[in-house]
């Protein structure tokens, strides 16, 4: 599913540069549920962003589903993101003037589905996350947990090969966090591949595999 070889990334800070990823090697198979752990500054978010094609590596190989991801044009990156990836963010990143249904339908719009089809599919995924009754509510009218479930439904809507979650429970309390994680586990049981960035031990332990990062290198790679 995903193959990363000797990945490097550094950011320019003023005159000096900060070497964030110092040669990452990582293989992820279909149907895995992987947690990437590390303290802040360990490079875990940078890694996720590169995997998510939201950011580009300086050197190294990244092969997603057999496709080398390198020197993508903006347009190509947009197509790949839309086709392969579903994103779940810590701060949900829903569009605030669109209701739940419209938010979920948005990736389908960029896939070129007809309006009716979009709405049907979006409704299906909202039902899957248990928010049918909230379909026509704006994000500000929903709780944090509900918003994150809308975001998960949106990530699922495009039927991606890989779901990427950046601290999906970071903005939620423990009970809700477990609910969300249980839901993600359920998705994994249905065959979805998930990659979850977190710094919380208990959240990581709900995954099948834990990759620990420190100072830009993988310290440990264990199966739970």
């Amino acid at each position: 599913m995903l193959k990363i070889n000797n990945l490097h990334k550094s950011y320019a800070i003023g005159d000096s540069s900060l070497h964030v990823l110092k040669g990452i090697n990582l293989d992820i198979e279909d149907g895995e549920m992987v947690a990437i752990m590390g303290s802040s500054g360990s490079g875990k978010s940078t890694l996720l962003n590169i995997i998510g094609m939201l950011d580009e590596a300086d050197s190294g190989d990244y092969i997603l589903d057999g496709l080398p991801i390198k020197n993508l044009t903006e347009k190509k990156a947009a197509v790949y993101r839309n086709k392969f990836l579903g994103f779940i963010f810590q701060s949900f990143n829903l569009i605030n003037y669109k209701n739940a249904l419209e938010n979920v339908a948005l990736p389908l719009y960029y896939q070129g589905f007809k309006r009716k089809e979009r709405q049907e599919k979006a409704m299906f995924y909202l039902e899957k996350v248990g928010l049918t009754d909230w379909a026509h509510h704006l994000p500000k009218e929903l709780s944090g947990g509900q918003n994150q479930r809308v975001a998960i439904a949106r990530a699922l809507a495009a039927n991606p090969k890989l779901l990427l979650a950046d601290e999906p429970t970071g903005a939620l309390d423990t009970t809700i966090s477990y609910e969300i994680m249980e839901f993600l586990q359920q998705l994994n049981d249905e065959g979805k591949t998930l990659l979850i960035v977190t710094h919380e031990e208990d959240i990581a332990n709900m995954c099948k595999r834990i990759v620990r990062l420190r100072d830009g290198v993988i310290m440990e790679d264990t199966f739970v």
Binding site: V79, N82, L106, Y109
Partner: protein, 409 residues
Amino acid sequence: MFDIDLWREIFQSIKMNKTRSLLSGFTVAFAILLFAILFGIVNGLLNTFAEAFKDDAINNIVIWSGQTTKAYKGLQAGRQIQFKNADHDYILDEFGDKVEYMTSRVMLNVNASFRNEKNSYTVRAIHPDNLFIEQNSMQEGRYINQNDLVNKTKVVIIGRLVEEDLFTKTTALGKYLNLSGIQYKVVGVFTDDGGDDEERMLYIPITTAQLLYGNNDYIDMMYLTYNPEMDYDKALAFGVLMEKKLKNRFSIAPTDQRAIRVQNNAQGAKAVNQMSFGLGLMAIVIGFGTLIAGIVGISNIMIFIVKERTKEIGIRKALGASPRSIVSIILLESIIITTIAGYLGLLAGVGVLELATPVLKDYFIKDPAVSNTLVIGATITLVLAGTIAGYLPAKRASRIKPIVALRND
């Protein structure tokens, strides 16, 4: 390529972000409103000027005679100067190429009667060229012609209101009108833009008047228009030279202000022309100023809007939006808002001018109006400015990495 989904996206964005939409709409609407009002007022001022000079030809010169006030060449002061036919011919001989039209006049007051209707009027006895100098237009019949002058015919041309006054039950043309005891045949009815007084006027051939009222060849005054190909300065010089030559002809002191007076419209026309030019220039300067203020306003708002939408752009890109779709959604929104707002501004401007017309009349602003072409042009300018001003930040925003946009919480 009509994409209903794209338009749905745009209208939702406009509807759900009211403050933003109103802000940019208001800027454009207000700029267009000011633009329309300003141009309307300037046009109104110009209309007032145009009307003030509508009565007669603008290149008029009038020559009167009076009494001398200074002794000169052995002649005493207080001598009455009387123009005669020979003086009329003298001017034509001397300045033929500089004169466009010329008529002499004898003025009479008459009591006119037709059947039971009576009234007193002023009669101007004239040459045929008077038609062009007074800018009369014929309602029916004909004007005084050369044949009338030669034969000294007893014909009269009457103003529209004279016909209304006296010919209550019939039409005037072909009827005989009694002017202080002498019967004249009405051969024409004219209209004039110079007001009611000008339309209560009677015209007869000058030779007829000279024969019937004194049997002389006296002239009360002379009217002419100078060749319009001359510029103002040449026309002024022409007037001065004519005055000098006439004074010489009548042995009048060159400094005598009363004996012969030449009133040259070129003087006023020059001033009016300069005034119009000044007003036009002012309109252009202020109009462009308003437009530039509008352009700056809408440009700022576009930059602000793109900034505000950075996060939304990041989300859309993460979900698979192409850079092009990002740019088009932002620009189309701006174009729709500015176009609608510009149109509303135009309507408001025209409405304000319409409502203010009666009030403005007291301030020498007549029929303030502004051409649609001009205002639509101004609106299109603002729409284009908004598009260009929005394009660069939108393009830049469409290129930022989604992660940078999303980080911007």
